[in-house]
Symmetry: C3
Amino acid sequence: MSNPFFKNNGPFELNQILNELNFEIKENSNNLIINDIKDLQNSNMNEITFFHSKKYRLAANATKASFCITTENLKNELPKSCKPIIVDNVLVSTSAITAKFYPDSINDDFDNTIEEIYNTKFNDKVKFGKNVLIGHNVSIGANCLIGHNTIIEKNVVIGDNCSIGSNNIIRNSLIKNDVKILDNCIIGKHGFGFYPNTNKNLRYPHMGIVIIEDDCEIGCSSTIDRGSMSNTVIGKNTYLDNQIHIAHNVKIGENSIIAGQVGIAGSSIIGNNVKIGGQAGISGHLKIGNNVEIAGGSGVIKDIPDNTKVMGYPAKNIRDFLRENR
Amino acid sequence: MSNPFFKNNGPFELNQILNELNFEIKENSNNLIINDIKDLQNSNMNEITFFHSKKYRLAANATKASFCITTENLKNELPKSCKPIIVDNVLVSTSAITAKFYPDSINDDFDNTIEEIYNTKFNDKVKFGKNVLIGHNVSIGANCLIGHNTIIEKNVVIGDNCSIGSNNIIRNSLIKNDVKILDNCIIGKHGFGFYPNTNKNLRYPHMGIVIIEDDCEIGCSSTIDRGSMSNTVIGKNTYLDNQIHIAHNVKIGENSIIAGQVGIAGSSIIGNNVKIGGQAGISGHLKIGNNVEIAGGSGVIKDIPDNTKVMGYPAKNIRDFLRENR
Amino acid sequence: MSNPFFKNNGPFELNQILNELNFEIKENSNNLIINDIKDLQNSNMNEITFFHSKKYRLAANATKASFCITTENLKNELPKSCKPIIVDNVLVSTSAITAKFYPDSINDDFDNTIEEIYNTKFNDKVKFGKNVLIGHNVSIGANCLIGHNTIIEKNVVIGDNCSIGSNNIIRNSLIKNDVKILDNCIIGKHGFGFYPNTNKNLRYPHMGIVIIEDDCEIGCSSTIDRGSMSNTVIGKNTYLDNQIHIAHNVKIGENSIIAGQVGIAGSSIIGNNVKIGGQAGISGHLKIGNNVEIAGGSGVIKDIPDNTKVMGYPAKNIRDFLRENR
């Protein structure tokens, strides 16, 4: 995942990392330096990775990371070049270390880097309403409008000819050209991703961003969460109605139409030319093909192949559903 | 439809209109003037209309318009007084011409006509909170309250004794007397109406308004879209709970009660004394009778006669539903 | 119910109360004083109570109230020490008298007691964004953040280490320690509770508050209504996703996880360690046990015992649902 926004706070000494994990230091590792944390495939020498499930065994076998957060049961899958760091709960420990490298990916407090827009370089460049606030690391293209009380928080790129309405809050997002965002949306906040833990849940990092491609329209009072380890993407010329919730890591294709109050749970992938009726819900980690039509109110709990019309809860072929429910 | 708010930008010369449609000009029509665009029934001499489906044949036979956007197949239904303008896609062309006459009905960018309320005539007349903004062509009756950060955008009439909460955005709306609007609502924005078009959807005009009759209450974080060719209406003493979405052209009768997170799709008509439970959804273009009760979570996909209780998805008689689902 | 926020406007002379009810005064009661209005169990001498249904007969037999709003049919259940005040509609009359004692519990107009935070004692104590407003009777603990445009209206207590995002509106709420509230939430507004009445519904009082226990997280654009005669409670370390609606009097236990767009209707009680999937709905006045899992999109219309997984509408045992819907 290309990540333009979250700054790596590292490198750290290995000892600092082991301390964080309450890991007993068995050897002299004082002068070892860890540059980054990545997944098994993408990590390199002097980086740390994590391995928590047998299904990633092949990737573990081939990892180039120097260290790996893992369990006693899994450690033998790692190559000799990768030293295991044994912990009780791999995901919780990984979350803690990722937070160390990328603290901004955990913390979604209000953005205290903002300034009134008329004190920024956008004063002459953008048409804006009252009380517009702009954070650090924001760029805005030509011929854009930004409505009243809207907050463009840090780490936002907006292309040309965009119309952003009023009362929106946007952060960690890449908005391309000719996009319309109506009013009262929250875009780019972290998703509902955390490790449940009695007395104190543990949030995991959200290092992904939201990407809204050219010519999209986002309706009023919608929420689009940024991704955790990948991005949340709304494809070109896709229109969203009001009160829609798009969870983290969701990807929606081009030319799709999503009616009011639809919810799409985390990591689902929606194809091109998809039509989703009002109040339909799509479970997480599903794949919805191209040219699919999902009737309003449906609850989709499994993958849907291309060119299919479905309805019902659980959603099934629309002809079957209507025949059974005459 | 009486339309107090959208200004007719015409008249235009016929040639300007034909140019817009890439229509080859076959005769000398330089000095012809078109005053307005209306539907088949309401249009008059020197106005343009449109005719896109056989089901409007009788209206087409009788139209008084001088010109009609239509197709080769349909043109023979028009009277001799009405000259056909043949296009590939009647609705797309109609949309383009309507946008020419009524540009404000397409464009829902933030309202740049607003001023801080203390710079307006309402400073002494209305009790208001911090950061209240008022657009052009707004009137507010006696004894009204307007909460913090609320934006009364252009083209809003508010009656007497209304309590508008905080963080609301209202435009193109007629709000009668003794109405309460809680917080964070968006009222009068255009609906989710457009012609799907690969690479670039085409929005059609929303020339309707929102009318909220006396004694209504609108809950927090609700959205009520204005109509496209008719108005969206909330009847007298009807109460809406939080997070409700009312789409364009919907009409709700009097004394109805609509619980949280309900969605009503475009152009449906709801009767008087109707009760709708939480999260229920009603498809578009339906007619729900008087004294109907719709159980929470139901999905209504067909008309419902007066005095009926329904439940389920698709919604059916509640006794049948409960018997089948014991 | 302990109620720290709503001030008793009494005492009132009995005649004032009888006048309010259009009750014909039959005896000389000029000098009688009524101190408060409470339910049958909790009321004492020189207080007024109400009794509207046979099912509260035993409580009525034992009430210590001096007066009781009731009907001709029920009056004989009261002890001799309690004089009946006979009315047509007990709940409507009770509402009117409660409103007399507790006017702030009916009226949810925008809070006109607020000031910009930099003019308050919190200026040096809290980290805050632009345009933050604070009402009367607010306290905020150590190390708290309050984001842009957020309004902490009157009667709010916030503990230590809380992170409140931007564009929130909070009133009549007790927020404990280490709570995160993301953006655009409305918390503590009155619920959707009123007596339907042709031409003019009658709101009943909402004297409860919202209590959010330690370590909770509330997602973006959620609404949590305060209670009417009891409180709305979110238990310790419970996490809510975006666009959730929690109605008045709902109580949610500890360590529960509630996904996006869920709605919980009034007075339902949810246990500890409960997981509720996206868009599920729970009817009012239900009891959901501990360790229950409710699948996304379900509609729950009856109580659910501990340790149960349910799915469907109406929700049933998840294995039965999936077997029937293969």
